[in-house]
Symmetry: C2
Subunit: 293 residues, 2 copies
């Protein structure tokens, strides 16, 4: 019996799934970070470790690794030559490194036409049309990630300070935010000095919650965020009738706010990113695995 | 002959001016940082050093310091109890610590009604009406300082990446920015990871320059920035007919873009912040200096 490997690696952990040639997962495992931009050899080591553990979890011999092909979806694989460097030092029979977005799209919509929007602490988009993928966004909190939780939280703090100064409207939401910071604008500024995107993003659900109650500032922030998300969807050049999946923690909050023309395309994702790597491996390597029998 | 001292201290340096009781400056000097939030005793030491050097520059005996009253304008004086702590340990006959904005306003418009907008890497506003001062803004780059050079530069990088992705319009300005970053959006993101407000602000003059040539993205960014500046001016509750001074590096670039109702109020500043501290000292302490003669 021969296998394929799917790997989903990022800055905090690396997951591996061992599957039969037809894509049925038989073992899963998880290891440490696989950040190919900051630590290529450390990433290799955690990738191999996750793969070995997936063989063991399946009750199979890890010594089969050199005979097993793998699809790896890794954050940062679109930058520089990290992809080629890593492929050259991996122990699998064939190693193909894709971006994390590519395997997430495969997981969400399968191998045909379709698109996804990742709406979480950050935002990123990818669409596949006639077999060609195109990614946009994902440029990070400081000058990108429009519509992300981090940007929504940052906008909220900005509007809260403007309301404090009497420059923009106050609302129950901005009043409650000032209370969080002991009604001291300096405390707000202090918070932002060391806040990471996830810290700003922590306030985003509060904005959605207040918007539903009719809060004017919350709705102003979200109208802008929805317009930003739709501007990116508009630039994706979606294939007619192809599925659109919303992923990430804010997906269920955004779905009802999108315009009808996008809501009509929404589909639940078929699988997650790791599942996407497995399915891509089964699709691309099945022939070769058969041949090796 | 008796004197008054004006002190203008901030995060990079501390300036002192020694003046006669009627406000005529007779000696100036400069020393190191006077950051009362991060190093109160270091700030005291540099303040005293600048004062001593100003006496020496005027050919006067620094031992007169304990008989000389001082107005100090210091960044951060509006936060917590730093002001009171510092006043308690200064060697002057009387020490009055004001914010840097307060002495800048005194320098710009004198002791009557009037307002100023500081439009530089950051933005801040202050108005005096019927003898009462009110400051707004100045909350820093991350969630404040709307219309500042830093925010304009950040907006430019954001629009440049959106244009690269085809989400928003490209223009000669965004094309030239992409060229600065070797047409690699990752280079833009890399820059923003470690960029300080001044680094973002470095791009602001380029935006004004392209706007004048009709660049659509530059004008979009500046229309938003002008609207933000005017929203803050609107919240200042300016006294009818009182002067409005624009200070900071972007002041001459903003002046022609303001609405007529604000342009009509514009006046050249009478003096700088150090001059404001001196004039305030002469105004407030002249009586006491006379009495001591």
């Amino acid at each position: 019996m021969k296998f394929v490997l799917g790997i989903d690696g990022g800055g905090t952990s690396c997951r591996a799934a061992l599957a039969t040639a037809d894509g049925a997962v038989v073992g899963r495992a998880k290891s440490g970070a696989a950040n190919i931009r900051t630590d290529l050899t450390g990433a290799r080591s955690n990738i191999v470790d996750a793969a070995r553990q997936a063989f063991i979890a399946a009750g199979q011999d890890p010594d089969l690794i050199p005979q097993t092909p793998a699809i790896l979806g890794l954050a940062g694989a679109n930058v520089g030559t990290y992809r080629q460097q890593l492929e050259a030092i991996l122990p699998f029979s064939t190693s193909r490194v894709e971006t994390d977005a590519e395997i997430a799209l495969e997981g969400a919509v399968g191998s045909g036409d379709g698109a996804m929007a990742i709406l979480g602490t950050g935002t990123a988009y990818m669409a596949r049309k006639d077999g060609k993928s195109r990614a946009i966004g994902g440029w990070g909190f400081e000058v990108g990630d429009q519509g992300s939780g981090a940007r929504i939280g940052r906008d909220l703090l900005e509007q809260t300070l403007l309301a404090h100064d009497g420059v923009r409207l106050a609302s129950p939401l901005t009043d409650s935010m000032m209370a969080v910071f002991r009604n001291n604008p300096e405390d707000v500024v202090e918070f932002t000095t060391n806040a990471k995107p996830g810290d700003f993003g922590g306030f985003a659900p509060k904005v959605f919650e207040h918007a539903q109650k009719g809060d004017i500032v919350a709705n102003w922030i979200l109208d802008k965020a929805v317009a930003d998300v739709e501007a990116s969807l508009g630039a994706l050049d979606l294939a007619a009738g192809a599925p659109l999946c919303l992923l990430g923690g804010l997906a269920p909050l955004y779905a009802p706010r999108l315009s009808e023309r996008y809501r009509a395309l929404l589909k639940e994702p078929l699988d997650d990113a790791l599942g996407g790597a497995v399915q891509m491996a089964a699709r691309l390597f099945a022939g070769r695995v058969e041949a090796a029998r």
